[in-house]
Amino acid sequence: METSLIITAYSLIFLILLSISLFLYIIVRRIVLKYNKKRFMRRYQSIEKDILRLITFPQLELSAEIARKYQSYPNVLTKVLFDYIEQIEGLGKDQLKKVFDYALKLKCLKDIYSRRFIRRLKATHLFVVFSEPSEAVHIMRLLNDKPLVRLVAVNALSRIRTSQAISYIFQAFERDPPSNARTYINILFGLGQNIEHFVRMYIMKPLPLEKLGLLIELTGAVPLRSLYQDIIVFADHPDKEIRIKVARAVGKMHIPHSYETLERLSQDDAWVVRAQAVKSLGKLKDHRALDILTDALFSPFWHVRYNAGYSLASMGLPGLKRLKAIAKQKKDPYASDMATMVMDEIVYSEGMEWARS
């Protein structure tokens, strides 16, 4: 028999055996998973029963008892606690945290310091939910970890809400590359007015443009009206992205005397800044802006015309009268078409709601 034939035959036998083993593995895996799932559900229901008892009649001894009883099933216990903790508040929530402290905290802390990335990440995710202000020190350590773990850690810190925790978040924000900055803003947003002092402090620092822009945007998103004076100084910033962010933030703050700033930005050299300023003027609903918006509707830039149209609509009757007049004029068909579209949309769909928002 030729060597090549022998090799092929042996390869064939090997592959057939491998395929059969894989098939059997899939079948056995399914059976085992099905069995495990049933066992998991049985334990889940039993723990759930006790947890419900604990939530209904909160007692410290009962927390300790439940923790002792189920600490040998950490996965099921974690799942039950995780499912319930997000749904309840008050004393019941504290009791669930106690169960976590007694049964899982040590393991979780050990995992936070684990060398395995996935284990660290999972443990940090749990800390997001179960952490206490005093535990910030453990989470702080993770701020030097891989980006994914770092972001989860920042998220955990944001739930602690103490001044110290917020300070750590801002330090990490300053240190991290700008690519992560957006995620920080999403996290900081949840802290509401608590961040005002820090934003004021960091906005004055020499941050990269992306980070500065995002902080300005944050003042509008929360909104942090007391920072109005601090951000309008950036209306003359040489970078147009920063000026856009100022126009957007000011528009969201709804401060009556912001009209002058927006008026200035609506005359900006960059059309993208003008487009944003026009949109923000619409949100301000200041009738002094009617002339600016009317002029903007004749802009050679589509986005400026588009925002001007909807902003006029949001001004109520005087704005609608202007739109009607522009729709009728024949000098600039682009402005006429835009005005017609806006009015059409107001009549037929949610245009008015858009304008109101």
């Binding site: 064939l12 491998l18 999403n186 947003f189 949840g190 682009y334």
Partner: protein
Amino acid sequence: MTTVFHIFSSIILVYFFLLNSLYLFFIILSAFGLNRYKHINAFINFKEIFQMPLVKPISIIAPAYNEENSIVESARSLLSLEYPQYEVIVVNDGSKDKTLQKLIKAFDLKKTKWVFRKSVDTKPIKGIYKSLSNPKLIVIDKINGKKADALNAGLNISHYPLFCGIDGDSILEKAALLKMVRPFLEDPERTVAAGGILKLSNGSEVRTGQVTKVRVPRNWLARFQILEYLRAFLGGRLGLSMLRSSLIVSGAFGLFRKDIALKCGGYRAETIGEDIDLVVRMRKYLHEQRISYRIAYIPDPICWTEAPETLKSLANQRIRWHQGLIETITYSKKMLFNPRYGITGLFAMPFYLIFEMVGPLIEATGYTLFAAMFFTGNINHPFALFFFLLAVVFGSLLSILSVLLGEHSSRQYPRMSYVFIITLFSFLENIFYRQFISVIRTKAFFDIFRGKQEWGAMKKKGFSIANQKQ
């Protein structure tokens, strides 16, 4: 003559060995990727996205051509997705059936005097409709111009910075957008596109725009395609994306950054493989501008699509896909083996050229050569037989490995009998189906040389009708 046969057969053997080794390598990579994804997403609540202030809104663009049977159900499914802010743009691409009329009736559509900015050229638009019952829905009625043209029309109308191109007949999981947008939140500067896993809806139960019961279809062709999809999405694309080399974000469901897509000129209207073409041109642009980027892949079955169930529509679909691949590779041939384009030029493009584009041609040559050697007596019969069996078993092994990967992902086929059926079909696939697909894909070469290009829209049963037949 014998020497020529031997040289050719040796080339084909080496090719066979390389191809299968690469696929095996991708499957191993995918296993790691899948495992990592599952762990990373443990304890993540995707609905947290609703509380974030800087989540980018999404425009969903769904081109529809003669899809009167499924369009209303698909649009309902799209309108019921969970996401803070999005719009659905259905583009009726000159349908000859009642696609538009059904949409008008179902969603109370009214024609508007819409003014839009024409960022990319398209065939003329006949009308733009807005729904009185659902403000998120916009319908564009336009002259027929293929899928790429329809997507461009949607791009022109869209308001938001991210857009999602999908097939009119796709069904998305409710949390599909929440899952797909995560890479854009985690790495907003670098992420330019994201794709996910497609599964076949044939045979499954669909209610109120969602797949409620997963079943294996009764149709044999659809069963073969289940294996193909498992191999392609869980094996090939996930593995390739881990090597940052995936060139395809499926046209059935992909999320893109609009500014980058527009800078590349949107979809190329002349091509029929618009999905791969856009990704390749985006990669080309980003490499040329020296912009660091990332194309993310979500190994989660979040989109369901209907597979063809007749040989004719299957052949049309595969010819279309292969023509799209040939067009894209030849259009961007400058990138091939070009170090300027990084891993795309040095690995991704050559891989798609050698193993995906030319692959069927080499496979078909192999069958022809085998027949020629058999008839001229230049064949070692026992070796040929063993080798054929080896090819069948190896092919099946790759399929079974993909089934195993499928078992690790969510929404698997629930019944045990389905595992038996799929495994049985993984053997049968190598006896008829594989050869059929190779021949069909080879035909795509000849069609392209003859200048024959067909949109070849497949006849859909529609989800609601598919249910009634179960």
